[in-house]
Symmetry: C2
């Protein structure tokens, strides 16, 4: 099966998963804490990931799947095709707001992102990309990001990174907040990445993200010219939970060099 065919099946699975999630909004959900009171999972996250596992197994028996909720495979190498799936990115929004959450999927071959998807379930906005073929918003090609300036920019920054934290010097983040036109925070990494690749935000960062949060977005980013990386500017390692930054190329270097400096104490 070629990439065009995989793309077609992937988009169909994602949209079916979205319909299942929407239907679940009328049912009673079960909410469980994972690592902390702000790290939640519902039965719908788990059922949606199981749906992906069964669909991928059925359509692509040789493909493996790395999912946030652990129903896929244990991935320690990138041989062959691997689907990297977050069934509901923004689970807290799903629970508290019944909106502003995404399904996001990256399909990697030998460790290289070939296909990427961010599907905002409640609005039906599908941002997709095929490596080397461009990125699309509901099928319409997205332009390369235009250049921008700090003073005109909107940046996705959660308030928690401006408060004292273990990861970065929050006083530098406060300087960034004061320099830009404005900051926003939507509570879903995939949603914020979808905002950067469409130019609605000019940068976004978070200190603890995993492969499933960003794998789809990274494929899309490359097609529109957004730069992704970790602290210091090096590439984000999909096998680690680590800081992630995505930005307009006009802003990336300065954000990395000046505003996001690791905690030294």
């Amino acid at each position: 099966m070629n990439l065009v065919q995989i793309d077609e099946v992937a988009q169909s699975i994602i949209k079916q998963a979205g319909e299942r999630i929407k239907a679940s909004l009328h049912t009673q959900m079960t909410i469980t804490e994972k690592s902390s009171p702000s790290d939640l999972v519902t039965n719908i996250d788990m059922e949606t990931e199981q749906f992906f596992v069964s669909q991928v197994n059925q359509h692509f028996p040789t493909h493996r799947l790395l999912g946030e909720e652990g129903f896929g495979d244990t991935i320690t190498d990138w041989d062959g095709y691997v689907w990297i799936v977050d069934p509901i990115d923004g689970t807290t929004n799903f629970i508290n707001q019944q909106r502003n959450f995404c399904i996001t999927v990256g399909i990697y071959k030998e460790g290289i992102g070939e296909l990427g998807y961010i599907y905002q379930v409640m609005t039906g906005e599908m941002i997709s990309a095929t490596k080397g073929q461009g990125a699309f918003q509901n099928g319409k090609q997205l332009p390369k990001l235009a250049t921008t300036q700090f003073e005109d920019s909107l940046i996705g920054v959660n308030a928690s990174w401006v408060a004292p934290n273990r990861h970065i010097d929050h006083t530098k983040v406060a300087e960034l907040v004061k320099r830009v036109r404005g900051t926003r925070s939507y509570g879903s990494a995939a949603l914020e990445i979808s905002y950067v690749v469409t130019g609605r935000l000019d940068a976004y960062f978070s200190m603890r993200l995993s492969a499933w949060d960003v794998a789809g977005g990274m494929v899309i980013a490359e097609e529109v010219g957004a730069i992704c990386g970790t602290l210091g500017g090096g590439p984000f390692d999909l096998l680690k939970n680590q800081p992630f930054i995505i930005a307009n190329p006009a802003l990336f270097d300065e954000i990395i060099t000046y505003y996001l400096t690791p905690q030294t104490t």
Copy 2:
């Protein structure tokens, strides 16, 4: 004309204004700085307010209008009916994102809010209320807010209030950020107020808001049991630019008393 009839005309004017704004997205807009580089106005804000002025004059010649862009009346008393209008709340979002902005209107009689509207133009979500008659989301009655707890709550906090600022002790805001389930920031006071009255956020505050940002929202808030006020917990004065807080009643007092304390230096 009775309130039901005023409500009908008001909703019609607001929706017409929204259609005009949507049509303008395909035209070249003119952007001007007001008080600062982050305080912007476009020709569309101004044309929309002028549309409100002409419509209100036509339908209700005795009503006065207080608008953000200054095309209405100079209001120093609250005699009779006053429409308090923000033609585009979230102008930066309008410019940078072409979404996440609202038209908001409060219709006050002798200084008492009788009708309130927050219309999210791009989604078509109309939140409305008539004093004593309840609040509605596209015509469907909104329930009273359920009680909540800090640990389960989502709060609208812009990162700028967690950075050092002239208005409040940012270290206390940082404590609040760490205590709640999460924070969000959408860049439109009216949008964030619409999220609180629908229970999608449990509180929102900003230190410099004006009558046109909150007048419509305050009417809606009363109908669902959300509490509004300024620093210290007293009522928000519609003739001043001042701090504004809206919260679930389970959170309001503690936010006011412990987390939002005026700068003393």
